[in-house]
């Protein structure tokens, strides 16, 4: 069966520091991968998605970036965090069909 791992679970970072969140999927090949951000009490905002290695599409302009160095690995990064980057970050995967997206446990990021 397929599993998705996301870490760390919580992170507290100072403004201006770098960021690296990692997500890996097991048990499937060539999945679609997604990064979302959820502000407190709000819906999900799609940040990036990837349909293959090295293929990244950005949905919103921001100081975040994403990379997919391996088929089942998706990384969310920033060189300098802003206060507005605080939130709950969720990684998800799906097959390239109409099947639903499956979410990781999320990373709660607090910027001080």
């Amino acid at each position: 069966s397929q599993t998705i791992h996301q870490w760390p679970a919580t992170l507290v970072q100072p403004v201006g520091s770098p960021l690296s969140l990692e997500c890996t999927v097991e048990g499937t090949s060539n999945p679609n991968l997604y990064w979302y951000r959820q502000a407190a009490g709000r819906g999900l905002q799609l940040l990036f998605y990837s349909v293959g290695i090295g293929q990244i599409s950005s949905e919103v302009p921001q100081n975040l970036s994403a990379s997919r160095p391996q088929d089942r690995q998706f990384i969310l990064s920033s060189k300098k965090l802003l206060l507005s980057d605080s939130g709950f970050y969720l990684c998800a995967w799906s097959e390239q069909t109409n099947q639903p997206q499956h979410f990781g446990d999320g990373t709660r990021l607090s910027i001080l």
């Binding site: 679609n32 998605y49 979410f103 999320g106």
Partner: protein
Amino acid sequence: ELKVEQNPLFLSMQEGKNYTIYCNYSTTSDRLYWYRQDPGKSLESLFVLLSNGAVKQEGRLMASLDTKARLSTLHITAAVHDLSATYFCAVGRGSSNTGKLIFGQGTTLQVKP
């Protein structure tokens, strides 16, 4: 631009009562999903609706899709406390190959004993 709106955004109900959550979307789509999120947790997939008139049921929850009206409903029958959570609908945008979804704002359901 695809927009997805849910209502109500907050729902407080007594155990044993029935209620419906509505999800409207602004442009044509061929796929709609319902998710559940418990406080502080991730999202869990509930239903996948892929055609006009599709109806799916799981326990006390039933979801339906009317693509002509661009409307999906999530009906709760005889609510129990365990159903307390936030429910999101998500509508497919663009090609199904990318799997991109636009989420509604979420409906927070509170079931009181």
